[in-house]
Each structure stands twice: as structure tokens, then as C-alpha cells.
Subunit: 371 residues, 2 copies
């Protein structure tokens, strides 16, 4: 069993996103991960301040500038409140042994102005055009990749730490269901149209759940099939319905069209015992064990064939793999170990020079914390 | 004559906008003002570092993160390069006696992390939704209004300093021209459609110059009139053409529909001797002396009548008023005096507490520097 290596308690500031509440009510994976981490660190006894929206729910001390997420309350100017939110965290930096940035690149630009080390979890690169910021702070930043696949060759990482989930929020279902499931944003990247094609060719019902991210795509590629009795769209789903939908499925169709940095829904599906059929893109080969917890397929034909073989997989193997590799406890322990290491010595040996690209990084060869 | 009160030389960091080059090639009033200030401070002997795009032209030391303005080079991510740009300035804060922020609200959010005082020129409020940031930093910020009209009642100002222009870049023309001029962004706020209406009713030719900011508006409200022999659109104009167009006009029609914080084109027009017909909105009553350098009109009827009376004004009075009130030298001297005052004592007596809304401001009763 995994034992926490934490030898002392830390004062930690966690900077969440303010697009949504922390944890998000519905869609909001960044806020979900920030919440899981925060609550786990508090449970370990650390003194945590969570910087998030005012309506966030946490056992940590909450500091809020924005009353609500800017995606949920259009009276809130995203740029203005991001500035207030990040600044508030850095203005309190002296009160923390370490800060955990779960908020993209903007906090990096404040990080040289304080002496507290900042550990930045890179939840993905929205565009190559934001890389200049990550490169500019590579010498002082402590980057955490959320999968080995998402590591950018130009950057230096302190660790890869896979996301973890609260497994008790997902009910293991030993019997396979009779429908296929698409769960995620309705967007070409997520392959909703491919899930429809695979389900129709496999002759099985498909349930589609998630927010509509790309309305034109939904209208053109999804809506025309909703008249068929075997294709249904149930909209965005809250946690209890999400658990029920995942657990009741034969397989999750995760036929993404991009190198996804991590897939929370993939791990959640496995936690209910439901195998995952996906492409070997991005983090997928790290999350799905081909032939054991799902299938990494090469195209739609291959996906249709995989649907036929999915009942040969043992659902308990899926659950067991999550228990071994993707629990919140494991994620929190990995972060706690990293934070302790960095608070204890990392930062003092890192040059905080402001002349970019010239200083060297202390822990360039730090080992990955992921087994 | 105005004499500079500067008693010692300062090390000053000027943070310009990176939307455009500094100074802008065409449209770009913020960059224009930052340039005028920077070059003037260098001429007074101050040691100035200008934070601006890499293609900027200056006699100061130039520090650039973005090679070009993000409005001019779409490969540049505005948010990423704004972060790099502002951070670079604050990472060098210890090298400056004072910093001049000509860049909107974002730099405020870094200002409590350094001890160097930051003087923020508010070039206007793009939206009420950005006010929370200005309010949050009111206790430590030194705000400069660009007109008394633009002072927000919630904020504390160190001074009002009107923009100044290089008067020798504008040629005084003693004889009135025979056309009316619209010069500015083509946008409903700027009243291009009202200028057309007034010119047609006055029976005079209208020349329209400026970038098209609102394309639907241009198509619907401007383009239909361009077939008429007396209405012409000449596009955006560079400095020499701008001087020629302004000086050759009978009057500038500046029939704005919003409380404009300042109007550089108004002052430039006056510098060539061309009177201005405008509404008494925003800064206009501060810029135009009704009955002497132009007319503050109450509606379109009144504007048409004013066109009939404009030849009664003395063009030399327009030029003289600019020489007295709107020169670059006067603006630069006012900033230099303010910077010296703040560098010498202002900041040390200001509490830099991070608990918002509780500290008091040292120079809350500082007098306006504008006569």
C-alpha cells in the first residue's frame, strides 16, 4: 500500500481556476482536480488556503476575489478578476511554504516577484502560442505534467503526476450494461460523431452526455441522429447521474481527435468497471491498458471490432487498475511529497535571476513521481 | 513660460501597450502618448527604460518581449505576451525610482509585489466591469486622469494631466479650408454618421479618414454615401497626410456619442488652426473653448448652425491655445514633477498592506497639476 512520505506539515496556497466554482458543479476538470488536491492536503493535516470563487466549497481556508465563476456569471470580467485573483495569492505568498498553481500560465508571470516556490501543474497547452511564457519561466518554475505524453520537449519538469479521483464516488458494477456511452464536451476533438458511427455499425444503443461546446458541430453532426431510437442525448450530467451512466454502460467510446493531456472521464469509467475504447493519442496509452481495461484502436473499423470483444474484458480489472494507479490519495500523496521536497530545498538552490534563459535549474534531473 | 520643476534625474520605467508599436504607425493613441512621454523624459535627462514591442522606435533603453504588436502580428498571443511584458517590467522594478504604467489595469495587480512606486495613467475605462481592479489598488496606486471629466468618483487621483502633442509636427495654416473633416475610428461612438448628416445639410464636402473599427456600421451607415461627390473616404492616414488633412479643413466634426476621456485628434486639429465642432461630452469642454476654438453643440441642428459660424473664429486662437495648454513639453514636465514628488516621498508614506480597502492613501488631497 502507498504510504505518504510527508514528514512535516506545510502551509500551502492552491490557486484554482475561476472559470467555475471549485469543485465545478458540472463541467470543469481543472477546478475538480484543484478541489481533490485541496481536500486531500487538508485531510493530511496541511494548512491550505484555496484561492477560488466565493461560492466554492472547501474545508481549506477560502480566499475569493470573484464571487462566482466567469463562465457562470457574465457580469464578471474574466481578465479583471483573473488579475485580482492571482495577485491576491501572490500578495500572501510569504504566508506559504509552497504555492500550487492549477491555473495556467498567468501566475508564472508573478512568480519571480516572490521567494515562495510555485509549483505549476500544466493542465494542457491550449495553443502553441502560450509556450513563450512557459519557456520564459522554465528556469525558476517547478512544472508538473499530468501525463508523460503531455510533457513538452522545451520544458523541464519536476514530476509527472496523473490525476486521481475519489473512487468511493464511483460505484463498481460487476455486470456489463447494454449501451455504449459518450461522455464529454460535444466537440469535434472529443469525437462525438465517431461514437455515433461506431454505435450504429455495432448495432448498439448510444447515450451521449455532456455540455455542447461546439454548437455548429452539434447541429450538423449530432442532432440529425437524435431522432433514431438508439441514439439519445441526455445533456450535461451531475455526479450521481454520471456515476449511473458510466456504470451502466458496456463501454465508454472515447474516440478523441487530439492528444488529450489526461481524461478524467476515462478513469471514472474504469472506476465503475466499464472498459474504454479509445485511440492511442496523448495520455490514452498511459490510462488504458490495451486488452485489459479497454482497447486502443487504430480507426473506426477497429473500434467497431473492439465493441464486439469488450465483453471478454473483466470489469473488476478496470476497477482494480484505478484503485492501484488513479486514486485521489495517490495523487495527493505525490503532490505532498513534491511540495515537501521543493519547500525543503528546491527553491533555495534555484537561481531566481530575471535575465531569462541564462540561469540553470536545480532539479532538472528530478525523477518522475509516477511509477 | 512653463519651467520644469525637476530637481534631480530619475530612473524611470515606462510600460507602454503592446497592441501596436510605440509610437504607433497609424492608430494607437496609448502608444503615441507613451512615446511622447518617453522621448520627452529622455530629453530632460532622465534615465528611461521603455517596455514596448521590439519594433518600437525610441531614444530610451528599449526592453521588448513581443517582437511586434499583437494587433499587427496575429502569431502573437495577446494574453501570453502581456504577461511576459508586464512581468519583465516588474522584475526590473528595483532598478527604477518610479514606474509609469500607460497600459491599463493589469500592471496594478503586480504593483504590491514591488517597492517601487507605480504611477498609472488611466487612458479610459473600457467597461465598468474592470473597475474592481482599480478600486482594489486605489490605496497604493497613484492614478493620473487624462481629463477631469474622466475621473471616476470611486478612485483617488494624484493628478489630472492632459495629453500633449509635438506641435511642430502640425503645421499652422492661417487660411480656412473648404471641406469638413471626420478623423477617427469609424465607429458609432465617433459619430461618423452624424458628420455625414451635418456636412450634407451644411452643403459642404466631407472627408472621412480613419480605420474602420466597426465594419457593419461602416457598411450600413457610411458606405451608402460614398457615391456622392461630396463625401469621400480616404482610409487610415499617416502623420504627414493627417497634418495636411487637418490643416486644410474648415472644421473638424467630432460628434462623439460617448464621454470621450481625451481626444488627441481634437488637439491636433486645433494645432493646425482648424476649429472643432463637438458635443459637450467627456473631456470636450476641457479641450475646446466654446466660441473661441470651436463650438460645443447640443444636437445636429446646432452643429449645422455652428458650421455656418465657424469662419468667424480666429484660427490663430486655436493654435495659441494648444501652445498654451497641450504641448508635449507641458505634459512631460507635469509627469516629471509628479514622478519626482512620488519618488521622493509619496511611496514611503503609503501603506503597502495587502489587506485591501483598509490602508489609507498618503496623497489623497494632492492638487491637480493641470492649471
Amino acid at each position: 500500500m502507498w504510504r505518504s512520505p510527508v514528514s512535516r506539515l506545510l502551509r500551502i496556497g492552491v490557486i484554482s481556476s475561476i472559470a467555475h466554482r471549485t469543485p465545478a458543479r458540472g463541467y470543469g476538470p481543472w477546478e475538480q482536480v484543484a478541489s481533490t488536491l485541496t481536500e486531500g492536503l487538508v485531510a493530511l493535516g496541511h494548512e491550505v488556503t484555496l484561492f477560488a470563487t466565493g461560492d466554492s466549497v472547501t474545508t481549506a481556508r477560502l480566499h475569493a476575489e470573484a464571487p462566482h465563476g466567469y463562465e457562470e456569471d457574465r457580469s464578471i470580467d474574466a481578465k479583471a478578476y483573473e488579475a485580482l485573483h492571482i495577485a491576491a495569492a501572490f500578495e500572501q505568498a510569504a504566508e506559504f511554504d509552497v504555492m500550487s498553481n492549477q491555473f495556467d500560465f498567468l501566475p508564472l508571470s508573478y512568480s519571480r516577484l516572490v521567494t515562495t516556490p510555485v509549483v505549476t501543474t500544466i493542465h494542457g497547452f491550449s495553443s502553441e502560442r502560450i509556450l513563450p511564457v512557459y519557456r520564459a519561466y522554465d528556469d525558476v518554475a517547478h512544472y508538473v505534467a499530468i501525463s508523460d505524453a503531455d510533457r513538452h520537449p522545451d520544458l523541464t519538469y519536476a514530476a509527472t503526476i496523473h490525476h486521481g479521483i475519489q473512487t468511493d464516488a464511483f460505484t463498481f458494477r460487476p455486470e456489463a450494461g447494454e449501451y455504449l456511452l459518450f461522455l464529454g464536451r460535444i466537440h469535434p476533438d472529443k469525437g462525438t460523431h465517431l461514437a455515433i458511427e461506431v454505435a450504429r455499425r455495432a448495432g448498439l444503443p448510444l447515450v451521449i452526455a455532456g455540455i455542447v461546446h461546439d454548437h455548429a458541430y452539434f447541429k450538423q453532426m449530432v442532432e440529425p441522429y437524435l431522432g433514431e431510437p438508439d441514439v439519445s442525448y441526455v445533456g450535461a450530467v451531475e455526479p450521481i447521474e454520471r456515476d449511473r451512466l458510466l456504470g451502466g454502460a458496456l463501454a465508454l467510446l472515447h474516440l478523441i481527435g487530439f492528444a488529450e493531456p489526461f481524461g478524467l472521464s476515462v478513469v471514472e469509467s474504469l472506476a465503475t468497471g466499464t472498459p474504454v475504447i479509445t485511440f492511442p493519442l496523448g495520455s490514452m496509452p498511459e490510462l488504458v491498458r490495451h486488452g485489459t481495461t479497454g482497447f486502443l484502436v487504430k480507426d473506426v473499423d477497429d473500434a467497431v471490432a473492439a465493441v464486439g470483444r469488450v465483453s471478454l474484458l473483466r470489469r473488476l480489472d478496470c476497477r482494480d487498475d484505478v484503485a492501484a494507479r488513479f486514486t485521489a490519495a495517490r495523487m495527493v500523496a505525490a503532490y505532498a511529497e513534491l511540495f515537501t521536497r521543493i519547500a525543503d530545498g528546491g527553491p533555495s538552490s534555484v537561481s531566481r535571476s530575471s535575465s531569462r534563459g541564462t540561469s540553470t535549474k536545480a532539479n532538472r534531473t528530478a525523477p518522475s513521481l509516477t511509477p
